[in-house]
Amino acid sequence: MIQSAYSPQAVEVEVAAISAEPLDVAGLFALAHHPEAGAVVLFSGEVRNHNNGMAVDYLEYEAHESMAIKMIGSIVDDAKKKWPLNIAVAQHRTGKVSVGETAVIVITATAHRSEAYAANEYIIHRIKHEAPIWKCEYFSDGTKLWGGNCNC
Protein backbone atom coordinates (compact mmCIF):
# COMPACT_ATOMS: atom_id res chain seq x y z
CA MET A 1 0.00 0.00 0.00
CA ILE A 2 2.89 2.40 0.66
CA GLN A 3 5.66 3.03 -1.86
CA SER A 4 8.55 5.44 -1.90
CA ALA A 5 8.05 8.51 -4.12
CA TYR A 6 9.99 11.42 -5.66
CA SER A 7 10.31 13.40 -2.46
CA PRO A 8 12.48 11.86 0.25
CA GLN A 9 9.90 12.46 2.96
CA ALA A 10 6.76 11.70 0.94
CA VAL A 11 4.98 8.38 0.70
CA GLU A 12 2.57 7.45 -2.03
CA VAL A 13 -0.61 6.10 -0.48
CA GLU A 14 -2.54 4.24 -3.18
CA VAL A 15 -6.16 5.34 -2.99
CA ALA A 16 -8.66 5.20 -5.87
CA ALA A 17 -9.67 8.81 -6.58
CA ILE A 18 -13.20 7.72 -7.49
CA SER A 19 -15.27 5.19 -5.56
CA ALA A 20 -18.78 3.91 -6.20
CA GLU A 21 -18.79 2.37 -2.71
CA PRO A 22 -19.30 4.33 0.55
CA LEU A 23 -16.03 6.05 1.48
CA ASP A 24 -14.16 4.37 4.32
CA VAL A 25 -13.18 7.54 6.19
CA ALA A 26 -11.69 5.72 9.20
CA GLY A 27 -9.76 3.35 6.92
CA LEU A 28 -8.33 6.22 4.85
CA PHE A 29 -7.38 8.11 8.01
CA ALA A 30 -5.60 5.01 9.31
CA LEU A 31 -3.47 4.96 6.13
CA ALA A 32 -2.57 8.63 6.32
CA HIS A 33 0.11 8.59 8.98
CA HIS A 34 3.77 9.26 8.61
CA PRO A 35 6.42 9.29 11.34
CA GLU A 36 7.61 12.74 10.21
CA ALA A 37 4.13 14.27 9.96
CA GLY A 38 3.01 15.90 13.19
CA ALA A 39 -0.16 17.35 11.62
CA VAL A 40 -2.90 15.45 9.82
CA VAL A 41 -5.90 17.36 8.42
CA LEU A 42 -8.94 15.49 7.13
CA PHE A 43 -11.79 17.13 5.21
CA SER A 44 -15.09 15.33 4.73
CA GLY A 45 -17.68 16.84 2.38
CA GLU A 46 -21.06 15.50 3.45
CA VAL A 47 -24.58 15.56 2.07
CA ARG A 48 -26.78 18.11 3.84
CA ASN A 49 -30.50 17.63 4.45
CA HIS A 50 -31.39 21.02 2.98
CA ASN A 51 -30.18 23.12 0.07
CA ASN A 52 -31.60 26.52 -0.82
CA GLY A 53 -34.51 25.87 1.51
CA MET A 54 -35.46 22.55 -0.12
CA ALA A 55 -35.45 19.28 1.84
CA VAL A 56 -32.94 16.88 0.26
CA ASP A 57 -33.59 13.13 0.14
CA TYR A 58 -30.27 12.10 -1.38
CA LEU A 59 -27.74 13.05 -4.03
CA GLU A 60 -26.43 11.21 -7.00
CA TYR A 61 -22.92 11.87 -8.25
CA GLU A 62 -21.89 11.21 -11.84
CA ALA A 63 -18.30 11.38 -13.03
CA HIS A 64 -16.32 11.02 -16.21
CA GLU A 65 -14.33 8.47 -14.31
CA SER A 66 -11.03 8.25 -16.21
CA MET A 67 -10.70 12.02 -16.49
CA ALA A 68 -11.78 12.61 -12.90
CA ILE A 69 -9.14 10.14 -11.67
CA LYS A 70 -6.46 11.82 -13.79
CA MET A 71 -7.44 15.32 -12.71
CA ILE A 72 -7.70 14.54 -9.00
CA GLY A 73 -4.28 12.86 -9.24
CA SER A 74 -2.78 15.92 -10.90
CA ILE A 75 -4.38 18.32 -8.37
CA VAL A 76 -2.89 16.23 -5.52
CA ASP A 77 0.50 16.28 -7.30
CA ASP A 78 0.32 20.07 -7.67
CA ALA A 79 -0.34 20.34 -3.93
CA LYS A 80 2.71 18.17 -3.23
CA LYS A 81 4.82 20.58 -5.30
CA LYS A 82 3.49 23.63 -3.46
CA TRP A 83 3.80 22.25 0.08
CA PRO A 84 6.17 19.67 1.66
CA LEU A 85 3.45 17.09 2.22
CA ASN A 86 4.28 13.66 3.57
CA ILE A 87 0.89 12.35 2.55
CA ALA A 88 -1.95 13.68 0.39
CA VAL A 89 -4.95 11.62 -0.66
CA ALA A 90 -8.34 12.47 -2.12
CA GLN A 91 -11.33 10.31 -2.93
CA HIS A 92 -14.73 11.23 -4.42
CA ARG A 93 -17.85 9.13 -4.25
CA THR A 94 -20.08 8.40 -7.25
CA GLY A 95 -23.65 7.11 -7.36
CA LYS A 96 -26.33 7.59 -4.75
CA VAL A 97 -25.18 9.26 -1.51
CA SER A 98 -27.55 9.70 1.43
CA VAL A 99 -27.85 12.65 3.82
CA GLY A 100 -24.95 12.60 6.29
CA GLU A 101 -22.75 10.37 4.13
CA THR A 102 -19.34 11.49 2.91
CA ALA A 103 -19.25 12.54 -0.76
CA VAL A 104 -15.60 13.56 -0.87
CA ILE A 105 -12.62 13.23 1.44
CA VAL A 106 -9.19 14.89 1.42
CA ILE A 107 -6.38 14.04 3.84
CA THR A 108 -3.08 15.89 4.11
CA ALA A 109 -0.23 15.15 6.49
CA THR A 110 2.89 17.21 7.03
CA ALA A 111 5.28 18.43 9.71
CA HIS A 112 3.58 21.79 10.29
CA ARG A 113 -0.12 22.22 10.60
CA SER A 114 -0.56 25.49 8.68
CA GLU A 115 0.68 23.71 5.55
CA ALA A 116 -1.60 20.73 6.14
CA TYR A 117 -4.64 23.05 6.37
CA ALA A 118 -3.64 25.15 3.34
CA ALA A 119 -2.90 22.16 1.11
CA ASN A 120 -6.12 20.44 2.15
CA GLU A 121 -8.25 23.48 1.31
CA TYR A 122 -6.40 23.93 -2.00
CA ILE A 123 -7.09 20.33 -3.04
CA ILE A 124 -10.81 20.34 -2.23
CA HIS A 125 -11.29 23.76 -3.86
CA ARG A 126 -9.76 22.59 -7.12
CA ILE A 127 -11.55 19.21 -7.11
CA LYS A 128 -14.89 20.96 -6.66
CA HIS A 129 -14.25 23.48 -9.41
CA GLU A 130 -12.31 21.48 -11.98
CA ALA A 131 -12.95 17.74 -11.80
CA PRO A 132 -15.64 16.35 -14.15
CA ILE A 133 -17.98 15.27 -11.37
CA TRP A 134 -21.59 16.40 -11.12
CA LYS A 135 -24.21 16.10 -8.45
CA CYS A 136 -27.93 15.71 -8.92
CA GLU A 137 -30.02 16.61 -5.88
CA TYR A 138 -33.22 14.66 -5.32
CA PHE A 139 -35.65 16.63 -3.15
CA SER A 140 -38.38 15.34 -0.86
CA ASP A 141 -41.03 16.89 -3.14
CA GLY A 142 -39.97 14.58 -5.97
CA THR A 143 -38.09 17.20 -8.02
CA LYS A 144 -34.41 17.00 -8.91
CA LEU A 145 -31.71 19.52 -9.73
CA TRP A 146 -28.43 18.97 -11.55
CA GLY A 147 -25.30 20.83 -10.62
CA GLY A 148 -25.72 24.27 -9.13
CA ASN A 149 -23.11 25.70 -6.85
CA CYS A 150 -20.95 23.86 -4.37
CA ASN A 151 -22.81 22.84 -1.26
CA CYS A 152 -20.03 23.67 1.16
Partner: protein
Protein backbone atom coordinates in the same frame (compact mmCIF):
# COMPACT_ATOMS: atom_id res chain seq x y z
CA UNK B 1 -18.38 10.37 -34.51
CA UNK B 2 -19.75 9.41 -31.12
CA UNK B 3 -21.09 11.93 -28.58
CA UNK B 4 -21.26 11.32 -24.82
CA UNK B 5 -23.04 13.82 -22.62
CA UNK B 6 -23.05 14.14 -18.85
CA UNK B 7 -25.23 15.35 -15.99
CA UNK B 8 -27.89 17.92 -16.94
CA UNK B 9 -27.14 17.47 -20.65
CA UNK B 10 -28.90 14.12 -20.43
CA UNK B 11 -32.13 16.10 -20.04
CA UNK B 12 -31.47 17.42 -23.58
CA UNK B 13 -29.75 14.55 -25.41
CA UNK B 14 -29.32 10.80 -25.18
CA UNK B 15 -26.42 9.91 -22.89
CA UNK B 16 -24.54 8.48 -25.90
CA UNK B 17 -25.30 8.78 -29.59
CA UNK B 18 -23.80 8.69 -33.09
CA UNK B 19 -23.79 12.02 -34.92
CA UNK B 20 -24.47 11.52 -38.66
CA UNK B 21 -23.71 15.08 -39.76
CA UNK B 22 -20.20 15.97 -40.89
CA UNK B 23 -18.77 18.53 -38.43
CA UNK B 24 -15.14 19.58 -38.70
CA UNK B 25 -14.44 21.12 -35.33
CA UNK B 26 -15.89 21.66 -31.85
CA UNK B 27 -17.49 24.99 -32.80
CA UNK B 28 -19.45 23.37 -35.65
CA UNK B 29 -20.40 20.45 -33.40
CA UNK B 30 -21.83 22.96 -30.94
CA UNK B 31 -23.92 24.62 -33.71
CA UNK B 32 -25.15 21.24 -34.94
CA UNK B 33 -26.27 20.26 -31.41
CA UNK B 34 -28.12 23.57 -30.97
CA UNK B 35 -29.83 22.89 -34.33
CA UNK B 36 -30.88 19.42 -33.05
CA UNK B 37 -32.21 20.83 -29.76
CA UNK B 38 -32.47 24.65 -29.63
CA UNK B 39 -33.41 24.60 -25.93
CA UNK B 40 -29.88 23.31 -25.13
CA UNK B 41 -28.25 26.50 -26.49
CA UNK B 42 -27.75 28.15 -23.09
CA UNK B 43 -26.20 25.17 -21.36
CA UNK B 44 -24.05 24.23 -24.39
CA UNK B 45 -22.37 27.64 -24.27
CA UNK B 46 -21.10 26.82 -20.77
CA UNK B 47 -19.82 23.33 -21.59
CA UNK B 48 -16.30 21.98 -21.90
CA UNK B 49 -15.42 19.36 -24.52
CA UNK B 50 -12.98 16.49 -24.20
CA UNK B 51 -11.52 13.96 -26.65
CA UNK B 52 -9.38 11.02 -25.53
CA UNK B 53 -9.53 12.22 -21.91
CA UNK B 54 -8.14 15.67 -22.72
CA UNK B 55 -10.00 18.97 -22.81
CA UNK B 56 -10.04 20.47 -26.31
CA UNK B 57 -10.63 24.01 -27.63
CA UNK B 58 -13.32 25.23 -30.01
CA UNK B 59 -10.99 24.90 -33.00
CA UNK B 60 -10.02 21.27 -32.27
CA UNK B 61 -10.28 19.23 -35.54
CA UNK B 62 -12.59 16.26 -35.04
CA UNK B 63 -11.69 12.97 -36.73
CA UNK B 64 -14.41 10.65 -37.99
CA UNK B 65 -13.94 8.00 -35.28
CA UNK B 66 -13.46 10.33 -32.33
CA UNK B 67 -15.66 10.17 -29.26
CA UNK B 68 -16.46 13.65 -27.98
CA UNK B 69 -17.42 14.05 -24.32
CA UNK B 70 -19.43 17.12 -23.36
CA UNK B 71 -19.21 18.38 -19.77
CA UNK B 72 -21.55 20.92 -18.19
CA UNK B 73 -19.96 23.15 -15.53
CA UNK B 74 -18.99 20.85 -12.68
CA UNK B 75 -19.74 21.38 -9.05
CA UNK B 76 -18.82 18.21 -7.22
CA UNK B 77 -18.78 17.84 -3.47
Amino acid sequence: MKIQVFAVLKDYFDKEFELGAEVGDIASLQSELVRLNPSAKGILQLCRFAVYDEFVDNDFRIEKNDTICIFPPSSGG
